[in-house]
């Protein structure tokens, strides 16, 4: 019906044309970045795989102990031993490497953007629809354009993971800064703080619990996206799940899925406690 009166908007064609043009224009650069990052990801994976498994188990246990206490330490260590026992150590390390890198990049980009959004109303108003768009767009869609820019594999996975997981850290950083009691900002101003002093001595410390909640969510989203990114050859635990689907092996699929759950719980508990520790200090 619609098509008879108003011609169909060729949105898909436009987007393809735009992406084609963009690929042509910057693919050289993105491929170079991809090559560089592939080395980085490889190094990190190698680094995680180089020490004997029990060293990593103990290290993760210690991290859990530092930020979460004895219970988290014990749970984390046991979880890692469980994964080791399932024989999923290698894909787990490659998944963790991707999640860590994606989270670092997301924070590196997201924190400053979030701070700007927290400080300036205009920035916040511009950010909001973009963030809504990024979060509601089905995650798979990001995978498609990533390939022409970065090629199949871990770098494309990283790229789409960063895009998918960055909204919470931006949103909650902005929110954390905007939520600060007006009188506290006035107090800071009244004593003659510079914008930078106010930000570093008052706004960021006070927003820290909210910012850390955002970081925690970003890590969780990154993990879920890294698993999905197995479809474009990211490997890791997602790759194991993907293989199990293709060969119709539910047992294998569940094993790999359980390993993802264990990694998720460890990352969640540890980063949540970092946020709570920030609150107490």
């Amino acid at each position: 019906m619609m098509g008879e009166i108003i011609p169909r908007i060729p949105l898909a064609a436009w987007i393809d044309a735009f992406l084609n043009w963009l690929t042509g224009a910057i693919a050289g650069v993105t491929r170079a970045i991809a090559a560089l990052m592939r080395v980085g990801i490889g190094r990190l994976e190698d680094g995680l795989l180089w020490p004997p498994e029990w060293v990593i188990v103990i290290l993760i246990g210690l991290l859990g102990w530092k930020f979460g206490g004895r219970k988290v330490a014990l749970g984390s260590a046991l979880g890692m031993v469980f994964i080791w026992n399932l024989g999923l150590w290698e894909p787990t390390m490659s998944t963790i490497a991707l999640v860590v890198l994606a989270t670092l990049i997301a924070m590196l980009l997201g924190l400053p953007i979030g701070i700007l959004g927290g400080l300036y109303e205009t920035v916040y108003q511009i950010l909001r629809p973009i963030l809504d768009f990024m979060q509601t767009m089905p995650a798979f869609v990001y995978l498609i354009p990533a390939i022409p820019f970065f090629g199949l594999g871990a770098v494309s996975a990283l790229f789409s993971t960063v895009i998918f997981s960055i909204p919470p850290v931006i949103r909650l950083t902005s929110l954390g800064i905007r939520q600060i009691d007006r009188e506290l900002i006035e107090a800071s101003d009244a004593f003659g703080s510079t914008t930078m002093q106010k930000l570093i001595k008052v706004q960021i410390p006070l927003a820290k619990p909210t910012i850390m909640a955002g970081v925690n969510q970003t890590i969780m989203l990154a993990l879920s996206m890294v698993v999905i990114a197995a479809m474009i050859g990211a490997g890791g635990l997602g790759g194991e799940v993907w293989r199990a689907i293709q060969r119709l092996r539910p047992g294998q699929g569940f094993e790999a899925g359980l390993a993802v759950v264990v990694v998720a719980m460890i990352l969640d508990r540890i980063t949540q406690k970092i946020g709570a520790a920030g609150k107490a200090a």
């Binding site: 009188e183 006035e186 107090a187 009244a190 004593f191 003659g192 001595k201 410390p205």
Partner: protein, 421 residues
């Protein structure tokens, strides 16, 4: 940039600024209008429209309308009004936390409305300490770090700023609390930290925004007394905002009474109470407990007659008989230093024993004394439980006057002017 801005007709300001210390803060025809076309709102204000009418007509909110007054060095001026009267907005105009829309504000003859961002920051660091209604302590900093905040952002080195913070904390009675976090403190203690933070930077001017309004009544009274006593120690110029008339009357050397952004009256507590400039002020002060405001000085009578130290008992008795008194105050004739009180009975005994001097029968114990600035409220019980009048004695122990039961009531009746309370 207009030379003069005509004042709104309704603000009748009592010109009661005694020639004293130099002007520290001068607020001149300050307006704060929240909206896009403030000129229009000002025009309407000048035509006599009020705040609500302007909101209806233009959608703009009048925060402050043509406020002008000076604060002298060392003076405490209380700006008082109900919520929405513009008092907090006006206070924030003084350090430009809120930008005044029109008008000039001078601090030490410097027009602060013209300052650049950097100059303004320097001014805030140098001249102002601010205390907030809900304390505004930084919850992530310890009490000492809070008190040292102003010095920290000035770049004062660590040792010096903690030493000064510790001194400021000691000044407000919080010695030894430096390592606690604000959440461990009671409301009163929190506001002491707020006060210490403001005092630590050694500001010329203290801006106090409803500083005690969030405190329990008893603690509030304590804090008021403490600020009054601090004032004598540190000699600050204070601009104090409150919605509580009792607090205004107690704290203020002068009071600026605001309504709907405009100033209704400026004057001392006495002037506001006894000569209200507008009906609004009169209504406002109608329910004031005058016994808190009037002092011994206001209600005392001349101590006539008195006996002098060199008088004999018979002279004293004769003076009592002539005035129909049952007792008499004894003073040194040279300087009216109060020596004590003699009752008629004891004078008769002494006369019988033929004592020559009054000294031996003069008693300091049985005469109650109060300083001239003692509120009448506190004199009531003394007058009630003493048969003898209460002596009003100044710092040099001189007898300034006496307060008898009748004089308190008479003074009150006179002030009330037939108003029932």
């Amino acid at each position: 940039m207009e030379a003069t801005i005509p004042s709104t007709g309704e603000s009748a300001q009592v010109a009661a600024e005694p020639e004293q210390a130099k002007v520290k803060i001068s607020i001149q025809n300050v307006y704060k209008i929240f909206g896009k076309t403030p000129e229009k709102a000002r025009e309407l204000l000048e035509q006599g429209m009020d705040k609500d009418e302007i909101l209806d007509a233009t959608g703009q909110v009048v925060g402050v309308a043509d406020a002008s007054f000076d604060v002298h060095e060392g003076e405490t001026v209380v700006v008082m009004g109900l919520s929405g009267s513009g008092k907090s907005t006006l206070l924030r105009c003084v350090n430009r936390l809120i930008e005044p829309t029109f008008g000039k504000i001078y601090i030490d003859d410097q027009d602060i409305t013209e300052l650049s961002v950097d100059e303004l920051r320097a001014l805030r660091r140098e001249k102002f300490g601010m205390v907030f209604q809900s304390f505004a302590l930084f919850p992530h900093k310890t009490v000492a770090e809070n008190a040292a905040y102003g010095l920290e952002i000035q770049g004062v080195d660590r040792d010096t700023r903690y030493q000064k913070a510790e001194e400021a904390l000691a000044l407000v009675g919080l010695k030894g609390w430096g390592s606690y976090y604000p959440e461990n403190l009671s409301g009163g203690m929190k506001q002491r930290v707020g006060l210490a933070r403001a005092l630590a930077v050694e500001p010329d001017v203290l801006l106090m925004d409803e500083a005690f309004s969030a405190l329990d009544p008893l603690i509030r009274t304590d804090m008021q007394d403490e600020l009054l006593s601090l004032e004598t120690q540190v000699q600050k110029t204070i601009l104090f905002i409150t919605h509580d008339l009792d607090e205004a009357l107690k704290m203020g050397d002068r009071i600026v009474l605001m309504k709907d952004g405009g100033i209704e009256q400026i004057g001392t507590a006495e002037e506001i109470l006894t000569q209200p400039a507008t009906e609004y002020v009169a209504k406002f002060v109608a329910n004031v407990d005058v016994t808190k405001v009037l002092t011994a000085e206001d209600v005392m009578k001349k101590p006539q007659p008195v006996a002098f130290a060199k008088d004999g008992p018979r002279t004293a008795l004769r003076k009592m008989q002539e005035a129909g008194l049952s007792g008499i105050f004894v003073v040194k004739q040279s300087n009216w230093e109060l020596l004590g009180h003699v009752t008629a009975e004891r004078a008769v005994e002494a006369a019988k024993k033929a004592d020559k001097w009054l000294d031996e029968i003069t008693s300091r114990d049985e005469c109650a004394t109060v300083p001239p600035d003692e509120p009448v409220r506190n004199i009531f019980p003394l007058v009630a439980e003493n048969n003898n009048p209460v002596a009003v004695m100044d710092e040099e122990h001189r007898l300034r006057g006496i307060v008898v039961r009748g004089s308190v009531l008479a003074a009150l009746a006179e002030r009330e002017g037939g108003d029932t309370q």
